[in-house]
């Protein structure tokens, strides 16, 4: 991690050896990006309304730093955040301290997902950072889910976090106004991989057997949900060029 950070900080100086016009000599962009995608599924559900699905537009917020390193290439580092929800129903018997307990749980968990990415932009027909470009990213995403509602009060709140790595590819078109404002629209597609079984459980009590399975299943659902949310989205960005 330290090495990567060092490289990123060093890059502006490395790129001085190459021919990099940038835009009128400006090479650095700091931008805010809004990602929009369609989400299909249930968000908040209550026990009486199970099975109702809906589609809505959900958003992702991102901050990006882009630095031009060549005539048609730039490096990009970004931080993004989005929230989403997962619904997971469970009804059945669980073993609680040796006692079989019937339990119905509906988990309507809010997932907070923070991503860190870095990558490369390759500008097609124009000089970076202007015009159409292909974007390639490596992502690291940490998602935490909290809050579940169960029908059994004694069961503790569970929180789960999930780590994912992913790769992304996208296409954008950027324009520059007044020599300093950058506007960008694009499409991005990501694929996130689960990272084994790494999750944390914050449980007041120890459970075994089916409840642990439930947690794994729950984590799986979180991961899937995050993956779906991150698959494909439209991007709209505005930034400052300096």
């Amino acid at each position: 991690m330290k090495k990567i950070t060092f490289l990123i900080l060093l890059l502006p100086f490395l790129s001085q050896g190459q021919y990099t016009p940038g835009y009128m000599g400006k090479k650095m962009i700091v931008s805010y990006g809004l990602g929009l995608t369609l989400s299909y599924g249930g968000d908040y559900q209550n026990a009486e309304n199970q099975g109702e699905q809906s589609t809505k537009i959900v958003s992702k917020n991102a901050v990006n730093f882009e630095y031009v390193i060549g005539k048609k290439k730039s490096l990009i580092v970004g931080l993004d955040h989005f929230t989403t929800y997962v619904k997971e129903d469970y009804a059945g018997y669980v073993d609680v301290n040796g006692i079989e307990v019937y339990r119905e749980s509906i988990k309507n968990a809010k997932i907070n997902s923070i991503g860190f990415s870095f990558g490369l932009k390759s500008y097609k027909a124009h000089l970076a950072p202007l015009g159409g470009n292909w974007e390639y990213r490596l992502l690291y995403r940490k998602s935490t889910a909290e809050d579940l509602i169960t029908t059994i009060d004694t069961l503790p709140v569970m929180s789960t976090s999930l780590n994912q790595f992913g790769i992304g590819i996208g296409y954008n078109i950027s324009r520059i106004i007044s020599d300093c404002i950058v506007l960008e629209i694009g499409l991005m597609a990501n694929y996130n991989f689960y990272l084994g079984d790494s999750y944390e459980l914050d449980l007041g009590n120890t459970y075994s057997g089916s409840l642990e399975n439930e947690e794994e299943h729950y984590q799986f659902e979180i991961g899937k949900r995050v993956q779906w949310r991150d698959y494909f989205y439209f991007k709209f960005g505005v930034g400052y060029l300096f």
Partner: protein, 742 residues
């Protein structure tokens, strides 16, 4: 008559020192003099507004719109023509033509004030009148004229085109045809073309007739002149004279070009006057002759009213200019033939001989690049005496042209040893001979063929007297001597027999041979050329470390494929101003001091700048045509003054073009998006948004060496919005000003 006499006296007073004291040996290209007319410096939009203001309000709305459309186009193209660097004012020829015209017009000050005459530096035999009162007279026309009366008739003809609004009338006719108006509702395309052609022809006949009756006849000129003009026009495509070409021009001493390089008979001249003029804008010459024949019933009149000597002086200038103009157009053989014709009267003329040397240089370079036929017309297509010259160059074998080139230019150098221009051509000729043809001193004979033959005979005689006369050795030696003495076929090997006596020549050849050997022996075979003159660097990124340069008339063009006109006149002008601002802005960012050579500047231009512009535009135009061929641009010796006064030898030629395309394949896009639904938003976006293609170019020349230090062109599929243009231009400027990091 009185007016003519006064004019003649005035001319004789005004012109003697500036016109007749021309140093023909060091002939300088024709220059403009005096205040630059507004025609050159006013913005296109200004000129259009002026013409628009003169549209009659009594016409119908449709007619007024048509006339406005006409002026929009007409003023634009005239403006482009005026600023192409070939149009001159205030020079000797222009002033003379003005005098002839004033004499024709007589006492009509309003008409006189409406007309401006300008000379055009082109070898094309033509004159033209515009709707806004400009008459262009080509140097090619002046060169072909035989008398002042003939010139006067042509000017009278052009005058009628202006006074009768023929140009506007033709345009409106075309509009009506295209709109299917009135009688033309159901006219087919072919019939429309015929109708237009006939309308134009009627204008020409009217100009012939009215020009003669209203202006020419009254002026007292020879009434036979109109027929003489038609004769000249019939043969206008031929050189100014029809004289058998002789290779004496290139020969000297022992260098004699064999007769096999001469045609037994040249192609006859096939020009006729009754050619098919069905789709032509002009009636054929026979029709014009007949019409004039019915009109002209009296013979008599003068061939000269203004001044015979001035006419001949102007014609000589025009003919001298032709040698240069043909060089600029890469018509090297035409240039040589023209110079050949003029050299008959002045065989030692330096300017003409230098023109021949420049033409030979051009031909030799193209031949060395195996592109001779880019600049040499097929001799079979040539008529008349000049065909022999084309044939000669077509027949010369490998190396022979290079030998001819060096032989000619060295002979010239011997007559003008201190001349820098000749010296430059000489050095290039040496280089071409040694580097391109790998010919060295040993390949040439230092004694004449006669000497060699008598020497060989002497040796053979002494062998015969010897007791070994019939031996094997004697027979072999005799054969060797026969071979040497019989090398008459390689006539070119005797080209330098006289030059071998000159230590300087021998030394220069030996130095060049040494350089060649060094180059051959060096590990990495560098460019064969001794120096890089004329070579181009088309590197993707160059870093030139240049901090002062001139930009010559930047160009900007906005086109619209959907539009009948094609060109968006006003936005082109507006965008050009913005483009200049962008050039300034980006130059400042990279610490590049940029200056402009342009007709339209806020501070105005004087005649010195005007002439600098002309010579540099001609230089750039020729240089661009040469592309990668390392030819010395023909004006290399004429631009030194301009370079010195400009303060920088670096010249930038840049421009931008944007085309709005017609939306194509709409149906295909819609169908495709239905098949792949995810593409629907993209298809809709594509159909609803306009399609553009843009193109940008940027050339940087070193005027001293002729090198193109930078040659970049970028195409992109977007509108030419400011951010794109700025980005590209900044990239150009950065390359110009950046230091190399190697």
């Amino acid at each position: 008559m009185k007016t003519a006499k006064t004019l003649r006296i005035l001319l004789l007073i005004i012109f003697p020192f500036c016109s007749f004291s021309q140093d023909w040996n060091y002939y300088q290209p024709l220059k403009a003099k005096g205040q630059v007319p507004n025609d050159f410096t006013d913005a296109y939009s200004t000129k259009f507004k002026k013409e628009k203001g003169q549209i009659s309000k009594s016409s119908s709305r449709k007619d007024r719109k048509r006339e406005e459309s006409f002026h929009q186009k007409s003023e634009y193209f005239i403006d482009e023509f005026l600023t192409n660097g070939k149009v001159f004012y205030g020079d000797t020829i222009t002033n003379y033509c003005q005098s002839v015209l004033d004499n024709l017009i007589g006492d009509d000050p309003e008409l006189k004030n409406s007309i401006r005459i300008y000379t055009v530096k082109t070898p094309v035999v033509n004159a033209a009148a515009t709707a806004n009162g400009i008459i262009f007279v080509n140097l090619g026309l002046i060169a072909q004229m035989e008398t002042e009366a003939q010139l006067a008739y042509i000017l009278a003809h052009e005058l009628v085109h202006f006074t009768n609004d023929h140009v506007l009338d033709q345009f409106i006719k075309e509009e009506k045809l295209n709109d299917g108006e009135d009688l033309y509702r159901n006219t087919s395309e072919d019939d429309k073309l015929t109708e237009l052609s006939n309308h134009s022809k009627s204008h020409e006949l009217e100009a012939d007739e009215q020009g003669f009756e209203d202006y020419f006849q009254k002026s007292g000129y020879n009434t036979n002149a109109p027929f003489e003009v038609l004769d000249i026009l019939q043969y206008a495509y031929l050189p100014v004279d029809e004289v058998p070409f002789t290779t004496n021009l290139f020969e000297h001493g022992n260098y004699q070009i064999p007769g096999v390089y001469k045609l037994e008979e040249v192609a006859s001249i096939k020009a006729v006057d009754d050619y098919d003029d069905e789709n032509s804008s002009h009636p054929n010459l026979l029709k014009r002759r007949k019409k004039l024949g019915r009109l002209i019933d009296q013979k008599g009149g003068k061939n000269y009213i203004i001044s015979e000597s001035l006419f001949k002086h102007c014609r000589k200038i025009a003919r001298f200019e032709l040698s240069r103009l043909h060089l600029v157009n890469r018509d090297y053989v035409e240039s040589i033939y023209n110079s050949f014709l003029l050299l008959r009267d002045d065989p030692e003329n330096r300017y003409l001989r230098l023109s021949v040397a420049k033409a030979l240089h051009g031909l030799t370079v193209y031949e060395s690049e195996s592109d001779l036929y880019d600049v040499l017309q097929n001799y079979e297509d040539i008529e008349g005496e000049s065909q022999n010259l084309y044939y000669l160059f077509d027949q010369l074998g490998e190396g022979e042209l290079s030998v001819l080139n060096l032989s000619y230019v060295y002979s010239l150098k011997k007559d003008f040893p201190e001349d820098e221009a000749i010296d430059k051509l000489y050095k290039r000729a040496l280089e071409l001979l040694v580097f391109e043809n790998e010919l060295v001193l040993d390949d040439f004979y230092s004694v004449s063929l006669d000497s060699m033959q008598s020497q060989a005979q002497g040796q053979k005689d002494s062998i015969q007297e010897n007791h070994r006369a019939n031996s094997k050795v004697a027979k072999i030696k005799n054969k060797e001597l026969d071979f040497q003495a019989g090398d008459a076929d390689n006539y070119w090997k005797y080209a330098f027999v006289e030059f071998f006596q000159d230590d300087q020549f021998v030394e220069d050849m030996e130095d060049m041979e040494e350089d060649f050997e060094e180059n051959e022996n060096s590990g990495n075979k560098k460019d064969k050329k001794k120096n890089n003159e004329g070579n181009d660097r088309f590197s993707d990124n160059v870093c030139l470390d240049i901090h002062q340069a001139m930009v010559i008339t930047p160009k900007y063009l906005n086109l619209d494929q959907r539009d009948e006109d094609g060109i968006k006149f006003f936005s082109s002008e507006k965008n050009l101003l913005e483009y200049k601002e962008i050039l300034n802005q980006t130059a400042k960012l990279v610490d590049l001091d940029l200056d402009y050579l342009d007709y339209k500047t806020n501070r105005g231009i004087d005649d010195i700048t005007f002439n600098q512009l002309a010579i540099l535009k001609s230089w750039v135009s020729e240089r661009m045509n040469h592309v990668n061929h390392p030819v010395l641009v023909s004006d290399f010796d004429n631009i030194a003054e301009a370079v010195e006064s400009l303060g920088s030898p670096y010249l930038i030629n840049t421009g931008h073009l944007s085309l709005r395309e017609k939306e194509a394949d709409i149906f295909l896009k819609l169908c495709g998006s239905i098949v792949v639904p995810i593409l629907i938003p993209f298809a809709i976006y594509d159909i609803c948004t306009p399609d553009y293609s843009s193109f940008s170019y940027f050339f940087l020349f070193d005027l001293n060496t002729g090198n193109a230090l930078m040659a970049e062109y970028n195409g992109y599929d977007n509108k030419d919005s400011k951010d794109y243009v700025k980005s590209i231009v900044y990239n150009y400027m950065l390359q110009v000003a950046s230091e190399s990091k190697e």
